[in-house]
């Protein structure tokens, strides 16, 4: 990957983060989880996925399923930057005349399936991957999951099936931001060693820094990682990445910021000092 390519990806990620910040007011959004997976989504849509705005219904396209769902501002921000939707449409966030709400849905071009209930889209992805295998297709199915989501039993049930059916066209990416909703994973339901758990379930696992485009590039450069096994990338990330005033803060899971705070956060994203925030998470599970 050239330095120029990295700079382009970083600029794209920066713009996606601006979109996410702008969606965190007038009702708010799950800002922390969106910021943690922004680089992963930008990288996948820019460099890996064989899908474009013109091929969202093509039989041969790659599928990306956003299983954790509540990080959808990162997906919509990426869609806006990649031409799947008009960037101006993001201003419709939470408005009844559009479908841009807190979880993904198929009214938005590029969204393959709705989500919001955790632990669902691995199994949906398994069905898609099975059909592709049956038809001898070459497309791949990417499922982006949260680490808190790994609490759900259906994830591990799905891994058993994916391994049994040797779904090497299935790629699972875990956004390992180390948080459940309001509590650190290792303090509530510890996951480590999470890579060993996936290995024990028959997957081929890579663990990388999910904010480092060179590491993302080296992880995804050859798919499948090995024949006959589901591919898993544990992407270590930082919840709230890009905004020091939000990073790794349990109390900034879902926030409805004031317009003034949004302006401060946009400045902070571009290098200004930490924002003086008073708004805290509105949702406590």
């Amino acid at each position: 990957m050239t330095q120029q390519q990295i700079i382009e990806l970083e600029l794209r990620s920066l713009r996606v983060r601006e979109h996410i910040i702008r969606m965190s007011t007038d009702g708010g959004c799950f800002i922390g989880a969106s910021l943690s997976c922004a680089d992963i989504l930008v990288y996948l849509y820019s460099s890996v996925l064989r899908v474009t705005p013109a091929t969202v219904n093509d039989d041969q396209r790659d599928y990306l399923l956003l299983s954790k769902g509540h990080d959808v501002p990162a997906l919509y921000g990426t869609f806006a930057e990649m031409g799947f939707i008009e960037p101006s449409r993001l201003a419709n966030h939470l408005k009844t005349h559009d479908s841009i709400y807190w979880h993904p849905n198929r009214n938005i071009p590029g969204v393959e399936f709705h989500s919001g209930s955790l632990g669902h889209l691995l199994s949906v992805g398994i069905g898609i991957a099975m059909d592709i295998k049956m038809r001898g297709g070459r497309n791949r199915v990417f499922v982006v999951m949260g680490d808190g989501e790994l609490n759900e039993g259906s994830v591990w049930e799905g891994l058993l099936v994916a391994s049994a059916y040797r779904l090497d066209n299935l790629v699972i990416i875990v956004d390992r931001n180390e948080f459940q909703a309001n509590i650190r994973t290792e303090e509530l339901i510890p996951l480590e060693s999470v890579d060993k758990k996936f290995k024990a379930f028959g997957c081929w696992v890579k663990r990388i820094n999910g904010h480092d485009f060179e590491q993302l590039e080296s992880a995804f450069s050859h798919l499948p990682f090995t024949a006959d096994r589901p591919n898993v990338v544990i992407a270590d990330t930082i919840r709230g990445r890009g905004l020091p005033s939000i990073e790794r803060r349990a109390d900034r899971w879902f926030v409805n910021f004031t317009h003034n705070e949004v302006e401060m956060l946009l400045d902070e994203l571009h290098g200004a000092q930490e924002s003086d925030l008073t708004s805290e998470t509105l949702m406590v599970r």
Binding site: F113, S117, G119, H120, S123, D131, L160, V161
Partner: protein, 320 residues
């Protein structure tokens, strides 16, 4: 001789390349299909949730998944997957629930799907097919598979419960007889015993109408409304909890059309049934044809008695 469910499904699968057969390791009714269908037969092991999610994924790719598991685990273990992936997705997944209602026999309450109709019909867009016997299951299967909606099918493989005259049509009940004293309304397994009750009631001089619902959603409103208008008593017979099944469906139809009628429900009243072999379950719970007919006659006699008492009183009052 009717073809088996498996033979019918195989024939449909051969005609329709989109059809895939899935199971959570419940192969009893489809044991010969793996070698015929190859990769279009997928056994998920005991993973009902994953199977339903994957069925949604297969349907997104244009497949018509016909999914098999025991009715309890299919509709309840995987309920949120059915509701969220199949239901919200409006995907044409066909759910075949094995051993529903009394057919779980001696397994005990863990295996008793007696709220399945209630929870499945509560999902927007989900339809419910409750065949009376193997004949009806085989006769209806193609229409269910061809329909673009998701369906829940209460699986049954018992031989003919009654002689069917009407062709199967989604949303159309099978109405046998035009009796006016009582309309016996039922579905699925209970069709056979209810038919026996009809015969006994007729021997006792009552005129009986027999309604086999076939599909509970969509339900045949006209057949119910006609019975309410023309018959003195309506009786619902179901191996299901009182809440949410046929009795509730009829109540909803009456409210919608501002109709009231005398209805005797014969259903499981908020308790699990005592596990035993089928014939013993039917007897113990009071669901044999003889017991059903006695309950109906008691109710009709009571009604007759009350009616006579009232007219006697009126007569006496007029003399006084």
């Amino acid at each position: 001789m009717t073809m088996t469910y498996e033979e019918r499904l195989q024939k449909l699968a051969v005609q329709k390349e989109q059809l895939v057969v899935m199971t959570a390791e419940n192969r009893a009714a489809i044991r010969n299909l793996p070698k015929v269908l190859g990769s279009r037969f997928i056994d998920f092991g005991i993973t009902e949730q994953t199977m339903i999610g994957a069925a949604a994924g297969l349907a997104l790719r244009g497949r018509i998944p016909v999914v098999h598991a025991l009715a309890t685990f299919l509709t309840m273990r995987a309920f949120e997957f059915i509701r969220t992936d199949v239901g919200i997705g409006k995907l044409p997944v066909k759910l075949v629930g094995g051993a529903p209602g009394f057919l779980s026999e001696a397994n005990g309450p863990t295996h008793q799907a007696i709220e399945d109709v209630s929870i499945m019909r509560g999902i927007p867009g989900m339809n419910v097919f409750c065949p009376a016997d193997l004949d009806e299951l085989v006769a209806g299967l193609q229409q269910i598979v061809d329909d673009s909606s998701p369906w829940y099918i209460r699986y049954i493989a018992t031989p003919s419960a009654v002689r069917h005259y009407d062709q199967f049509t989604i949303g159309k009940a099978e109405v046998l007889g035009d009796g006016l004293d009582v309309a016996l309304i039922t579905y699925g397994l209970m069709t056979k015993e209810t038919w026996r009750a009809k015969e006994i009631l007729e021997l006792n001089g009552f005129s009986v109408r027999f309604i086999n619902m076939r599909t509970l959603k969509p339900a045949d409103e006209l057949a119910i409304l006609n019975a309410a208008k023309e018959c003195s008593l309506l009786v619902t017979v179901e191996d299901h909890f009182l809440t949410g099944g046929l009795y509730s469906i009829i109540g909803e139809i009456f409210l919608k059309h501002k109709v009231m009628a005398d209805v005797l429900p014969i259903a499981l009243k908020h308790q699990w049934f005592t596990p035993a072999l089928l014939q013993d379950v039917l007897f113990n719970e009071g669901f044999t044809g003889e017991q059903i007919s006695l309950k109906v006659m008691l109710r009709l006699q009571m009604a007759k008695h009350v009616h006579e008492e009232l007219s006697h009183r009126r007569h006496t009052e007029s003399i006084l």
